[in-house]
């Protein structure tokens, strides 16, 4: 079944290139995938999901998919939800339907393939597959005059990051003598003397893909200039690949090595939260503000990972990281989708040109408000459960006798990030939706039905997980 999940979008993509009606095919494929993804959440233990095909005998490599644990299930659920929303979002430039929908489907297939693969080879390969259409879409159909330079920049940036990652992965495979991820994990941590090097390579490689400070400078301009569905899929889903990889490979296989890099990691994640947070406040355009905010929020997930590194027996930290990955993916996808809508309604994304939009477009204002609250971390929405768990997990091993450890100190500083995100989100909301209407915002139409469906889909997910986090936490047990 997982093979269907991965190959259906690829087949749909080929069908589109060879003349099938683009929008219809894409929606059909995304819907089928959504149904399969929800099914996977209902019965993750079933055998039907497994798929394996030996593609190389020497060295043994298998094209194999399975739900290794709850983490895979949650990431696949995130992927299918955001794919559905992405297919329905954005305005396709006339005459470019084919490349538009084909790229979206290819990105989705790559992301799902990476999360479902149990073989290191395909785990890496599918992620790379998703990057190529992202570059193309940004350069080809993106916004702004400098989109080509930006697309070129992220091609090089992420290409180099992936290469560092590849070296780390090859080293891992060399030490364990297998490409099968479950076999690697079952064999336990690798040779301690090599762990430090592997951990560094994986941290830099995966870190670049997740925009860990100071390897983050590609992210904000890329999201600001990408077409809406690409920003949604990349910021919402694809970027989580790096975190998924750290949790899946680095933590079980190189725990000692990671501990050696704990202090630098803590400093860098504070760079994400505080430094990039302050930069975010200063943004004048909504899209670059969201791009920066997405970089900033990665810091919290790294905090959970740091808590897990400092105390490997901390199941709460892992759950917290996954929950926050899910919540952030949904909320940032929703925000990017709405940003694109605002731009199309008013013709501008600069907060100076906007104001009083709530009067003309009340439902847009409401949905954006919910998404903004989610992003800040208001209770009742998914991000809140994620962030609270992250902070709790950082203090899980706190011992009053020994005083505050580095993780706890970082956590205390990181909590200020919540204030920062409240500042920029609320300011943005006030400047865009409240105050007197401007000429450009007086008579804009409200969200149409086709715009509401993807937004509702994502909001339901945000509320469901926010009000009842056990929905996901049960899967993670």
């Amino acid at each position: 079944m997982l093979a269907i999940l991965v190959f259906l979008p690829i087949l749909a993509c080929l069908a589109i290139l060879f003349g099938a009606p683009a929008r219809l095919t894409a929606i059909a494929a995304a819907t089928i995938n959504l149904v399969i993804g929800l099914l996977a959440c209902c019965m993750p233990k079933s055998e039907v999901w497994n798929f394996s095909l030996t593609t190389l005998e020497k060295p043994a490599i298998h094209l194999s998919f399975s739900l290794m644990d709850g983490m895979s299930v949650v990431m696949i659920l995130l992927s299918v939800l955001v794919t559905m929303a992405a297919v329905l979002s954005g305005k396709v430039p006339a005459g470019r339907e084919k490349i538009w929908y084909a790229s979206i489907l290819l990105i989705a297939a790559g992301a799902i393939g990476a999360f479902a693969s149990t073989d290191l080879f395909y785990f890496y390969a599918f992620h790379e597959l998703a990057l190529v259409p992202s570059f193309l879409m940004i350069g080809l159909l993106g916004r702004g005059d400098d989109r080509r330079e930006i697309a070129w920049k992220i091609t090089i940036y992420l290409g180099l990051g992936s290469l560092v990652l590849l070296v780390g992965l090859v080293w891992l495979a060399n030490l364990t003598g297998t490409f099968s991820i479950p076999e690697m994990i079952a064999a336990g941590p690798v040779d301690p003397s090599a762990q430090k090097g592997i951990a560094l390579l994986l941290l830099i490689g995966f870190g670049t893909l997740v925009s860990l400070f100071p390897f983050h400078s590609w992210a904000a301009p890329a999201y600001a200039s990408a077409p809406a569905p690409v920003s949604m899929l990349h910021a919402g889903v694809l970027k989580k690949f790096g975190l998924y990889g750290l949790l899946r490979l680095a933590i079980p296989l190189a725990p000692i090595g990671l501990q050696a890099w704990l202090t630098p990691l803590l400093i860098l994640l504070l760079g994400n939260i505080l430094w990039v947070g302050l930069i975010t406040i200063n943004q004048k355009r909504l899209d670059s503000m969201l791009g920066n905010s997405s970089v900033m929020h990665m810091g919290y997930i790294f905090l959970a990972i740091a808590a897990l590194i400092s105390a490997p027996e901390n199941p709460l930290a892992k759950s917290a990281a996954i929950l926050l990955m899910f919540a952030h993916g949904i909320s940032i996808a929703l925000l990017f989708g709405l940003t694109d809508r605002i731009e199309r309604l008013t013709g501008s994304i600069d907060m100076d040109d906007l104001g009083g939009l709530a009067k003309a477009a009340p439902s847009l204002a409401l949905i954006f408000g919910i998404a903004a609250m989610a992003s800040i971390g208001l209770p009742g929405l998914a991000n809140f459960s994620g962030e609270v768990l992250v902070f709790l997990s950082a203090f899980k091993n706190y011992d009053p006798m020994t005083g505050l450890g580095p993780v706890q100190i970082t956590c205390i500083l990181a909590i200020w990030g919540v204030v920062i995100s409240a500042v920029y989100m609320l300011r943005a909301y006030r400047r865009i939706f409240q105050g007197p209407s401007l000429k450009s915002t007086e008579s804009v139409p409200d969200l149409s039905l086709t715009d509401r469906i993807p937004a509702l889909l994502l909001i339901i997910a945000l509320f469901a997980v926010g009000l009842y986090p056990n929905l996901l936490l049960n899967l993670l047990k």
């Binding site: 020497k58 060295p59 190529v132 070296v167």
Partner: protein, 494 residues
């Protein structure tokens, strides 16, 4: 059917076509020669699956012929025969769709009268390549190699009214002759040291070295490596590649870059194998020479490709870079084992993926030359707008050449890196990674030109002729399928 029938059929086909081309009236053009050649070769390709060596039928009366003393038919030989036939078929088809340019620069520019031989010569070269794959000793291999090289002297300079083609022909001739000299001289030194020229004999002579002086032997090996480096496009005899690739007619360039390189590599595998086996007294020295050659080739090919603006020239440098990866696989020599394919089969695999990607790219390049009158990267500007499907295909192919995962190119590179890491070749491995990264840069430059740069107002929409279209679809589909499921090539190698 004994295996050497294949070469006999191929040569016969070439002769028949040459005569038919000369005596049939030229009114209807010459394209039929190419088509007939491709069909004939396809027939031989089909019969290649039916042929056997003396091991397959020891009681047949041909099985005891002395022929088998200098001709062998193992899985590698069969693989490279199929490889050569397939390459030649595609090259002939490419030449058919390229004939308007060929005709313009041959003796009768307004007709196709001067183009007939262009379809016959590759068939002879193909016979030579097939024979190289089966050679049992250096003398046979050398003769077969010269058959290929002499044919190429003509093919490169075929557009004789085009100054670029002539220049390429002269350069190829001079450096080719020089490297032939190196090769023969090296063979002589090896014969002098070990007293034999057969590959089996080399292995047994090295097995019981006695009072072997390694210095003259190593001198001979180094000379042969330089001579073969010319065929495969390795440093230091790579200098002809960019100019010759750029000047030669595109089908010839494609043939050079795939067929000729593969012929060089199969001979290199056969030649180097005895010296790299565990008992060889010169194993470390030869490994060292190969590793240095591989590293230098990787560095030169990848970095010199970066500033190129002519696509055909860029492909020349990329062909040097690929030769570097292949040499790396040979330097990290490993016999086939339970969890490794071994160096020789990995090289064969890499070359097969390289065939698919490179020939397909040359098909596109040929048509861009015919219809947009240029071969620069700038001639691909805006292809995404004027020919979205062609641009998509081209994107897949270039991504495969760069080694993007899930395309055939990645599997090939993966096998090479896997060998290098098994051999603990860390320094060449890192240089290979850097080279692959540079590869991303220069291949993506073309993708960027196709999708992100607006076309000139004068740039024509490219209409692909039927043959190019079908070949391109087949090759691209194979690139993707092999990328996900490489088993078919494995089956051929078994």
């Amino acid at each position: 059917m004994p295996a050497y029938y294949l070469e006999a059929f191929t040569v016969t086909l070439g002769l028949v076509l040459l005569l038919a081309e000369a005596f049939f009236p030229a009114r209807k053009g010459k394209a039929w020669v190419g088509i007939a050649g491709a069909i004939g070769l396809a027939g031989i390709l089909a019969s290649a699956f039916l042929t056997i060596g003396p091991e397959g039928n020891p009681t047949a009366n041909w099985a005891s012929w002395p022929m088998w003393n200098f001709y062998q038919f193992d899985s590698l030989a069969r693989f490279f025969k199929i490889f050569s036939l397939l390459t030649t078929i595609f090259v002939l088809l490419m030449a058919v769709d390229y004939r308007s340019i060929l005709a313009r620069f041959t003796d009768h520019p307004e007709s196709e009268n001067g183009t007939g031989e262009f379809y016959c010569l590759p068939i002879f070269a193909c016979a030579g390549m097939m024979w190289i794959a089966s050679a049992r000793d250096l003398a046979t291999a050398f003769v077969a190699l010269e058959l290929v090289t002499v044919t190429f002297y003509i093919l490169v300079a075929f557009m004789r009214r085009n100054i670029g083609s002539l220049e390429a022909g002269v350069k190829y001739l001079i450096i080719g002759a020089l490297s032939t000299g190196f090769l023969v001289y090296g063979i002589a030194w090896i014969y002098g040291s070990l007293g034999t020229m057969t590959f089996d004999g080399l292995a047994s002579a090295l097995h019981s070295p006695g009072t072997l002086h390694t210095t003259p032997l190593l001198f001979g090996i180094a000379l042969v490596l330089i001579g073969l480096g010319f065929k495969v496009g390795a440093v230091p005899t790579h200098i002809w590649i960019p100019d010759v690739y750029q000047g030669a007619p595109t089908p010839t360039t494609a043939f050079l870059s795939v067929g000729s390189k593969a012929a060089g590599f199969v001979l290199l595998i056969r030649f180097i194998e005895p010296f790299l086996d565990g008992f060889s007294p010169v194993r470390h020295e030869v490994t060292g020479i190969l590793a240095i050659l591989a590293t230098a080739t990787l560095l030169f090919g990848n970095f010199a490709a970066i500033p190129q603006t002519n696509f055909k020239r860029l492909l020349g440098y990329s062909s040097i870079a690929h030769a570097g990866f292949l040499l790396l696989a040979l330097a990290a020599w490993q016999p086939e084992s339970i969890n490794s394919l071994g160096s020789s089969k990995s090289v064969a695999f890499y070359l097969a993926t390289y065939l698919l990607m490179t020939l397909a790219v040359f098909f596109v390049l040929g048509q861009v030359r015919v219809q947009r009158q240029g071969e620069a990267i700038a001639d691909f500007n805006g292809l995404g707008k004027s020919n979205p499907r062609l641009a998509t295909v081209m994107t897949v192919l270039l991504a495969a050449l760069a080694g993007v995962p899930l395309t055939a190119g990645f599997v090939g590179k993966f096998l090479v890196f896997d060998l290098a890491r098994n051999a603990h070749f860390w320094c060449p491995l890192i240089i290979g990674c850097i080279g692959a990264a540079a590869g991303f840069y220069y291949y993506f430059k073309i993708i960027r030109a196709m999708w992100w740069i607006e076309p000139d107002s004068s740039a024509a929409t490219i209409v692909l002729p039927r043959i190019t279209q079908i070949s391109l679809i087949m090759l691209t589909a194979a690139v993707i399928i092999i990328g996900i499921y490489p088993e078919p090539i494995y089956a051929l190698l078994r």
